[in-house]
């Protein structure tokens, strides 16, 4: 029962961190290359564009949820299970979500890379 509770928390962490990363990516893509924007309109304009973007604000909420979910899961189970499982699985869910919601071209090269990193992080963090 406690294992089920931990895995539910891990699923929550992975889903909220994925939602956060996808929303951050969407916000930054809509804002455009910040290097060019800074040269054209200055650093204040970049900061204003980022912190007032609705997707950015929503992303921060999801990333905060993910962080507090991690703290909660760590109070229930071992760090050697929670951290590698949540970190490595998020590489795979991010690839799915980026393909689905951001219309990124996730070809075989990127899938292979995501799976290799997922496996490597799981091994390194355990």
């Amino acid at each position: 029962m406690s294992a089920l509770r931990t895995w539910c928390a891990i699923a929550g962490i992975v889903l909220s961190s994925t939602a956060g990363d996808v929303l951050l990516s969407r916000a930054m893509r809509q804002i455009g290359d910040v290097g060019e924007l800074r040269r054209r309109e200055g650093l204040a304009a970049v900061l204003k564009a980022v912190v007032t973007h609705p997707s950015f604000l929503l992303a921060i909420c999801f990333l905060a949820t993910s962080f507090f979910g991690l703290l909660l899961a760590l109070s229930w189970d071992d760090v050697s299970l929670v951290v590698p499982a949540s970190t490595s699985l998020s590489y795979v869910t991010n690839a799915f979500a980026a393909s689905l919601f951001l219309r990124e071209r996730v070809d075989r090269r990127r899938w292979l890379s995501a799976l290799l990193v997922c496996a490597g992080v799981a091994v390194l963090a355990t």
Binding site: D21, V22, L24, S25, M28, R29, Q30, I31, G32, D33, V34, G35, E36, L37, R40, A49, V50, Y91, N94, A95, A98, S99, L102, R103, E104, R105, V106, D107, R109, R110, L112, S113, A114, L115, L116, V117, A119, G120, V121, A122, V123, L124, A125, T126
Partner: protein, 138 residues
């Protein structure tokens, strides 16, 4: 990909690794904080190592947002996962931790993933740029 953009990816890796290490070192010096005494977390921010960690992680956030403004998420995430390898190598080199076979396999897997993704394009080709950076009205 220009050299400046590769530099931003390197900055993500360095800021995240150094920020996490500094934060972790600082919190170990502060000691365990119980849920009942959560206000001690505010005092922990004034520990020099924790403060340095926060500054470095703000640097990470700036570099990460910059990379996402011109690159795909499915490129940035695997490409910057080299930080795990960097931390493992640092712990081997500086802390003289034991190098297990599993650790070498982990380093090899992550490095292969990074090598594969960075040989491909960094962004999905789109029919027309909708960004404000391209000079169009939003």
């Amino acid at each position: 990909m220009t050299p400046r953009k590769y530099l931003v990816l390197v900055a993500i890796v360095v800021f995240a690794s150094c920020g996490d290490t500094s934060l972790s070192y600082g919190m170990k010096r502060v000691g365990a904080i119980s849920a009942a005494r959560w206000t001690e977390l505010i005092a922990a921010v004034f520990n020099p190592w924790v403060a340095l960690g926060i500054v470095l992680l703000l640097g990470f956030l700036a570099a990460y947002l910059s990379a996402l403004s011109w690159s795909d998420l499915t490129y940035v995430l695997p490409a910057t996962s080299f930080g795990y390898v960097l931390l493992a190598l640092l712990s081997i080199g500086l802390l003289h931790e034991k190098v297990t076979l599993a650790r070498w396999i982990g380093i090899l897997l992550v490095s292969s993933g990074v090598a594969i993704v960075t040989r491909g394009p960094s962004a999905t080709a789109r029919p027309a740029s909708r960004s404000r950076a391209a000079g169009e009205k939003p």
